[in-house]
Amino acid sequence: MSRRKLSRRTALRSLAVGVGASVALPALDIMVNSNGTSYADGEAFPLRHGIFFWGNGVRPDRWLPERTGARWWEQSREGLMPIASRPAIRDRVNVLSDFSYQIRSGTAHHVARAQIIAGAYEAGAGGACCGRVSGPSADWLTRSAWAGESARLDALDIGISRQNKGGTNFSINRGLVYDDNGDSRPLEMSPRAAFERLFGDGLPDGAGDLGNTEAVRAARRSVVDQVRGDAARLRTKLGVSDQRRLDEHMSLLRAVERNIDSFESASACTIPDMMPGTSEAYQQDNIPITRDGRPQQITGELLTEKNEIMSQLVALALACDLTRVFTYQHHGMQTDTMFHMLPGVSLGHHQSTHDDRTPNFADQFQDFEAVHQIATYTMNQFAVLLESLAGIPEGDGDLLDRSIIFATSEYADASRHDLGNMAMLTAGLGCGRFKGGHHLRGGGRNPVDVQLAILQGVGLEIDGFGRGAARSTAAFDDLYA
């Protein structure tokens, strides 16, 4: 396969759109060996692992390609056309179909999400949404296995839409990444904050004209020390479970310290010149809040623009080896994101699939055309992310060659909470370990088998993934090249 090789100028120019004049520099040629297959010192290019998630599924009859096998894009339906129409990425994307859970229906959105993301089940208090699940998500395993190998973060967790489910306060930003305890970890939904985490000096804009001097950093460290000191005094007065809670809180102060120290940390890459104020989407990071402190229906999210910026940030973070694992939630499970940019879509996404203000699935309006439009738009957003990766050359290939990304939603058809025939894609060749360009059928097997195949494929020595009914112990090895 001959791949068009982008010149560095081209790569930089494509990245500069909306970002700024100077960008992080990916592995320089001088750093690469003569064959372009590894870094000059012989160290192989890193393998990256990604998760892309979107809520509320697709319209399966307008999304799945008609036949299976290679070159799926020649038979693509409208819902996947955003990928099928892009030659630069489509031959590295697989479409997966005919994977179903044993129990095919009757599960709420958040439970369905826990199954596909963590192969696990929801174990939250009283079955309440978004509590603890019974095990870690797939990305948690890779970020733990590869901890410390990348320069800045063990993983970058991105969210695009901030919308929750309408009328409630489901915390969708607490529901894609699950740690070893099954507690959900937050996603970064602010482009500005994501940028700061990757390239910033950790000092908020409103902190006055302190300057990021050693004296200021020392003072900030003394603040953290004092908080720890107060905690130590308080701890002696507490019961065991509160002590644990306090210890957990104090351990998180490491994030603040990393923030303070980060300006000093060396990076192989030039810091992009993306100053606050470059675009409206970059600024759009405040959560609209109702008077009682809940996030409200958000009507003006600049999803297209934000997705472009975040896609570029992910690509830069991978290119500079600031992280090797990323998660990317376009919009959360069950969210009522308003896709105002789509003509004819007037309701929140979840409301378009079914209105669950009552438990009745019938007798409620459903707007399947809107659901289809949204799914197609979301695939375009995913394609933009993949193009960002494909646009950065690395040795004899590009970032997409060195990545394996699993993309899915909590259901294929959310209107009936159907857990059959899940909607799943993979993207990237994972350093040649995975196939690309195929429509593969699972013959009714467990959807989590795909996650296990990826985890084993990237080198984790595990026998299975997940807990409970959805646990997988049989990797879907058709995925391997």
Binding site: R174, P186, L210, S222, T236, L238, A255, Q284, N286, D292
Partner: protein, 678 residues
Amino acid sequence: MSLSMVACDGRIDPLAEMPEPPIIRPPSETPLEDLPPFSPAEGGLRPLTRRQLEGAFRSALESSELEVAQNLEPDPAPEHRFRFIGELVTASPINEFDVLKLDQAALTSVAEAITEEQLRCTPSSADDACVDDFLARVLESAFRRPPSVDELSDYREIVRDAGEALDFVAGLRFATAAALQSPWFVYLTEIGEGPADARRLNSHEFAARLSFFLWDAPPDEELRDLANRDALDADSIRAQVRRMLADPRAGESARQFFAEWFGYDAIETLAKDSSVYDFDRALGTSMRREMEGLVGDLLAGELTYLDLFTTRRTHLDRRLADFYGVDVSALIPEGSTEQVGRFEAEEEGPGCNADGLDPAFHNLCSEGNTVGSSFNVPAATSIRITVRAYGVRAGDDLPRVALVIDDAEESQTDINGTEASPEELEFNVELSAGTHDIAVRFMNDFYEPPANRDLIIDWINVEAIDGNPDTTVLTEVPPERSGFLARGAFLATYAKAIDTSPTARGLFVRERILCGRVLDPPPTASTELPPRSDSVRTNRERVAAHTTDPTCNFCHRAMDPLGLPLENFDGIGAYRDTDNGATIDASGDLDGVAFDGATEMGEVLRADPRVALCAVRHLYRHAVGREETVDQERLIRAVGEEFAASEGDWTALIEALVLSDLFQMVRVPEDEPVEEEQ
């Protein structure tokens, strides 16, 4: 916890573990003599909510203007639970973002609030007396107790180190930033004194619990002073409760409590199908305002809690009055308009600049281009915004414009106007007093040379509507709307987008008013109501046809007879006599007591002793941040009796609750011995 799920067709949910009856009997049905002796709820750490954190920031920094909550992570709130119950708030632990954002908020807010002018002196060394004065003041407010000598000394060292390296104002800022992240600040620490199973809150802990309960803010100087002198006895507590309830902060806190308890907190954003119902954000606001008026009456003693079920009292604005069919023309004068401001777009200049960010020029060429200006609205009021615009057409669609207020898109519309005959678009919105950015945005660019769609804006005119439709008056609703269950906020919230929902309404009454509990429908059950037909015309008939199965009926009989009496009110709460052409049968029953229609249901609920007791439970959960267990049942009933004896007086309930050991005591879990301080 996992509950047994028996499907309507009798299958067992494979995820189920243990059986449990569909309606969990509340402990109120246990005879008093069978209840265990009183034991208080667990104490320990209770994280402040975002609102409480904001109140605490403002208090510690003596700045009522600070806005901190916007920059913190939202409170997690499981559905159907109270966000403000601390125990549930911490179902998800504090995470990395909380900690990072708190650090940033602390650094930002000290920079904003601590300036040389606001300091009462300018320190020249860390040993300056004013450093100690300042630290003592900040730490006492932040920790809700006087700081210890050791703590003062620690914080003075921060001032010393940073002060010598930078300057002493910066030193005080960093010391304060530490206090604002200290666990003593972030958590309510309710540890108490005495034996592990019955520890009494000390006076500082009690004052903090009381203040965050009534105000969502820490104790003020008067309450702190009483706590410092250990002078909080029953009489002074009563006096403080009355003083604090008269403060506007108590009203705000109570409004939020009721909005969440009664579930109308999302009334403005309900999804209603516009082809069926004429419902918009403004009507939702009117409905909220009516409920807030009634909550205010409750706090002021104009209404009792039991009155809420039968009263005809209301606070109507013109919009809701029209909706209810109440004539308020004599009470609210007709509106006149007053000019707020006008923005004229400039025609000269590049207009279509690449970024689309220049707000001055009138031709918007790219998607997302926005034009507008800031307007100063003198008082909270209804605003009429008129925009003159026209489009240059290209492609299949008309140019589409969105009204953008303070960076949020309010509504969108297509532009029919052309250069020859521009269009004047009118938008009506409500705005608070202050400066607002009002703008319009081009939503759907189209460009395939030579076809090019543009949007041209000539001007934006902003007027205030005086004597406006948002002024509310105290009046009465028609008899059929007696009680809050027959008002819009409740009825619209508990309904579907295209229909009513007798089951959802009945479930609310069963769970939130009577404190019964009904299981979720089994996951494998079909919960589809049969479609309307010639033989199954009304919702009553559909529900009946749906629940013929005894398994389904077992739960539905606890809900539907409490929702069907409200069928005279449609999915947004408008009155109706018929459903699908058939006369509505509004009969219902409450556990064997039959009644007909909303008004009679209100009378029956008012007379049911479970109603007052259920209010005690909700207020208790809110006040102490825990759900009650059977260990607290004896005292909950005792408070309930006092509440009932007062015939539902809300202030009497608050007093009885805060004077009770329910509120004043905590315990340490038995398996968690307290280590004594070294």
